[in-house]
Symmetry: D2
């Protein structure tokens, strides 16, 4: 059940970086949604290796195929199985990993937990695992757009290492984000970020950064207190992504330094609708969306796999050194943007369906 | 299912601030655990109102009673029902809340979601709801101590508003934390925090802060990739607590500014055991505990309910002003410390039992 | 999680026959349902001991109290906690049970599984456990009646031991069922059943029987293939009741002896609606309700606890004899009728809410 | 979540009879189980069409491929994805089904529920869906054999239409069952059954029957009262199989006619172990296995799809006639035997892992 996510719109992902492929089964997709591979492939393309000169050059086309659950262009209400075969595997590039644990990677903990691990690449801990999430997220987005035509989920990079972008969330567009390889809508910052990423790669090192995610047009009422509060499910979803170290919503950690009288979002009526004058709440109050944009940020650590030599231990219990071979991302953030969007979409879609069930009696 | 938490060690909490009481049903507690109310009451006492002069003076004894699941001092393996009756309710103190939504509280969103709300106090959104969590957390702690005798979960305040404590996690003890009313093991900072909390209360205002949580003695191998990674479940658990705005583990948001070569935790052998030279990972790698102390921090916003007058709207859709009456916490953090511990214990206990099931074949 | 039932309308029952009480927490009840104890007590009264001269004479009032989730007469959408305190406990009546396992009861298996058991009465294996189910079932019925005004769930006894009633399901009414103590709408058979039950009680023995359940007015479309088919969830629900040994739907076991051409229910249009000429399917096809009455039967064994002396073993592993003391039901069926109804209502209500979520896209 | 089964050993099946294939994802398989396709294919071969002259002659090889979760011959503890591509699809054989609902099949109810259906063959309601179950069941069997070396699950046909076999459960072997095409260990009855099946096929008709399942060597202690009693989960599992109409355990429906003094299974000590003199309980008491053989029976209706002309309605709401074309099973039971075994294995394996988690404190 560890690879199962969601209560009603429930996905089960599977697959290692090396093996027959990766994929996802979506159980609980409503019937009659128009759907084809063309709805899914664009997000997979935003996630895939080799898409630009600042990500890993591994050649993986990541072409998806829908194996079930769709008939004559519409979902059947039955499970949707999506498969992406593995290609371009070079397990020989990973031979040291059979014996050496990569620092701050999952090698040691998988070995400790399972007593076995697929050491050819990252195995299940590889970012390749997220293909199933991104594919399912594309389906979730389409459901959300059908239920709430104005809903839009946008994620973008706001910081790489010590370079911070200046971004006005209110005006960000998808085109702004996709305008550069690092997916930062501040063009000047983006150029600096790209240069930095290339530099650290040349040094055999890596960098991390911040991704902000914005969900506009979410109706009031999504979120299920007390344990499945919307921000709780978003936090859990984001921290399940590889390389994440933190999550904050609205004012976040900075909100700690405000007093209540400054932090509270005053309510006011606007066009007959309850709005807030500010949005330090980040669009969620008491665990339930309030109709304002949902805004949260996710911290990503620098990629663990680096070319520089590092101290480690072997599976036999000896101290040793290790320098990664293989073709790694010097910075995961450009490719993590669609992952963050996908997880946000999965959470919102599941909560939209849950609210349909809950809110069934006459008002 | 929104008030159900955990996969194997599963709790269902119930209760509003005003009504017959609050409580929890624990479904999945292993049999033969010695248990009585005396194991639970101390954590409830650390959570209850009126415990010091910096928290709400409401008089709630919060005395728990175990109604089922225990026989002759031991758990039966059947559901454990724990009840805390409500007392000292003064619903008349909340009469404006019938019509006025408190800013940044859950009044508006509950009304929007459910079309009804218990406006006498916070209802289900009251921190009183956490009594069930703390009671269940005490049971989870006892299981964890039985399975792993050295395991210890400690939470403590590290910042209130702009006052930051200096704390060496390695040496913090439970006695240090409980030595003052704000539960900050840095005595000097604690004194300043207490003075600040009293001052903002006199101003009709409120403050937030940070709580750090440390879990020592957790064995390697807990956590279930890919969605139930240990940090994902901890993040979700913490963001389900009232007033939380952020979660970070290990290096957290600050880790963004390190390069991979500085951020990675080198492995080294120590007394025949795999250890890490640093702990920027925060005790979890690839979603699985690595045997180092688990360290995370939670950001709490300033209390939403304040005595100062604020702009808001009424349920009838009119702009209005509201100044809270009633007896509120000027700062939730002292009472939130046992809540953070409880949620951490619930997550770790559930994962400990899950690992028992997973790791059943011969090694 | 073993005492948790349902996916969206989810209940958690708790309590042993001896201890502080029994109860249930309903998590996932839609908001704004008018609800009070008066909606629940009648079904509890149909279940309670002492209601007639053919059931156990134990004096248990089984008065319920709603502790949470209801405000000003309506559900809040938050968990509903319902408590029934235990009374009239005479644990001394059960002293042999500390050492002697009652044949065909749960004493030995609980001891084997949990290494401990509450031997004062049946503990968790007592039929007293079903109070929480019946209480939650009453809430489920009320939701179903609100969503589908014509829906009606009727259970009734069709056989006791070798006495079989003649019943025309199409015309059975609630009044017919409640017209006699054994809850059999065939008055002649009922009289014979009552006489038989009194006789076997006088012999220190017990009898079993059959309960049929009819759900009229269920709309087409409820049921979730492939594992949560409506009949699968009904079967699991019924076999979770104490003393049940079998479940059949529609033609059931007798259908084995028909050929396909006789067994298939021909479709025909009637008043613009798809109907079936016969109902050997029992109202469910492919796991989904088809709009015809749902009809199923449940086999109950004779009560295990009897006054006659029986061979058994002790907890110390010695052969021994045991004759039950205490006040037991010579036949569980009269009191099992509301239990069957309750479980049917819980299944149908959960599926009604699930279908709301699934069927959310435009047709 | 409707296609997800199990709590800890959890499977998600997917696939329609016509489309890219069918398969299963197993989430929660313990690590280090030796596993390859060779462990799975034999049970798929017992399930597949064309295996004998009394089943459908459709040519489907049903060759499985493990895509993930296994490395160097052992399970990784990660999800195991198993794929069986679809072949030999002749959707043109089903063209009437686009417009005509087959009586007692799932065509009408799927259309009513989902507003769409894959009418090329049975779609998701096809018995082809059970491939994923049988594949996962083979993995479950292997885990059970590893945990409890003596455990054996045997299913076999005990009746076809009005032909009833004479079988002594105590002596049945796998070889006896597989000795004939109908999988009935009574050779004389089997010959008559085979003749009858051929005859009804020649008449364009179909027959049903009974399958008994025996699980030997199950240790005491499996089963989770009160809702996940072992017989409840078995009943739900069996009634989720296509064409099932009833389930009974131990004495079953016949037990209704016994008195308690005859029905109770006396305990006696045997070789230091608690045994029962009879086994009317069917190996389960109070929802928990007692160490005796688990014995249950499942009723299967005659195949709904028959060549004889039948009355039905069209999707446009007109009365019409329909005679099935295509190649159908005149009797599903020979191929249902491995399905029953698989579902029994899935239930027992899940409960074995659940008991590992529950029973973790010192005895």
């Amino acid at each position: 059940m560890a690879s199962t996510f969601g209560e009603i719109f429930r996905i089960a992902t599977w697959g290692e970086s090396h093996g027959g492929g990766v994929g996802v089964v979506i159980d609980g997709c409503p019937a009659r949604l128009p759907l084809s591979e063309a709805d899914i492939q664009p997000d997979l393309d935003r996630r895939r290796p080799g898409q630009s000169d600042i990500v890993t050059p591994r050649k993986e086309e990541d072409t998806c195929r829908i194996l079930s659950g769709v008939f004559q262009g519409q979902t059947l209400g039955t499970p949707i199985s999506i498969l992406v075969p593995n290609t371009d595997a070079r397990p020989e590039a990973y031979s040291e990993m059979e014996t050496h644990f990569r620092p701050s990677h999952a090698d040691f903990t998988y070995q400790a937990k399972y007593g076995i691990r697929n050491w050819q690449g990252g195995g299940r801990a590889s970012a390749r695992e997220t293909i199933g999430r991104v594919a399912a997220g594309a389906v979730a987005k389409k459901i959300l757009h059908t239920l709430y035509p104005g809903l839009e989920i946008l994620a973008y990079v706001t910081a790489i290492h010590d370079i911070e972008a200046q971004i006005d969330g209110a005006s960000v567009t998808f085109a702004d984000i996709e305008a550069n390889a690092v997916r930062c809508p501040d063009a000047n910052a983006a150029a600096a970020m790209i240069a930095l990423i290339k530099q650290v790669r040349s040094e055999g090192d890596s960098v991390g950064g911040l991704i902000e995610c914005l969900a506009r047009g979410v109706p009031p009422g999504l979120g299920e207190p007390v344990f499945d509060k919307l921000e709780a499910d978003l936090a859990g979803a984001m921290l399940s992504l590889p390389a994440t170290k933190g999550f904050e919503i609205g004012s976040g950690f900075a909100g700690v330094k405000l007093k209540g009288s400054d932090h509270n979002d005053a309510f006011r009526m606007e066009d007959g609708r309850v709005r807030t004058a500010t949005n330090l709440s980040g669009g969620i109050q008491g665990g339930i969306s309030n109709g304002e944009p949902i805004v949260f940020r996710v911290a990503f650590k620098p990629t663990a796999t680096i070319a520089k030599s590092q101290q480690t231990v072997t599976i036999a219990g000896a101290n040793a050194d290790l320098a990664a071979r293989g073709r790694h991302d010097p910075c995961v953030l450009p490719r993590a943007v669609p992952m963050v969007e996908a997880m946000a979409a999965l959470v919102l879609c599941d909560h939209a369906l849950r609210q349909r069930a809950q809110d069934c009696l006459p008002r």
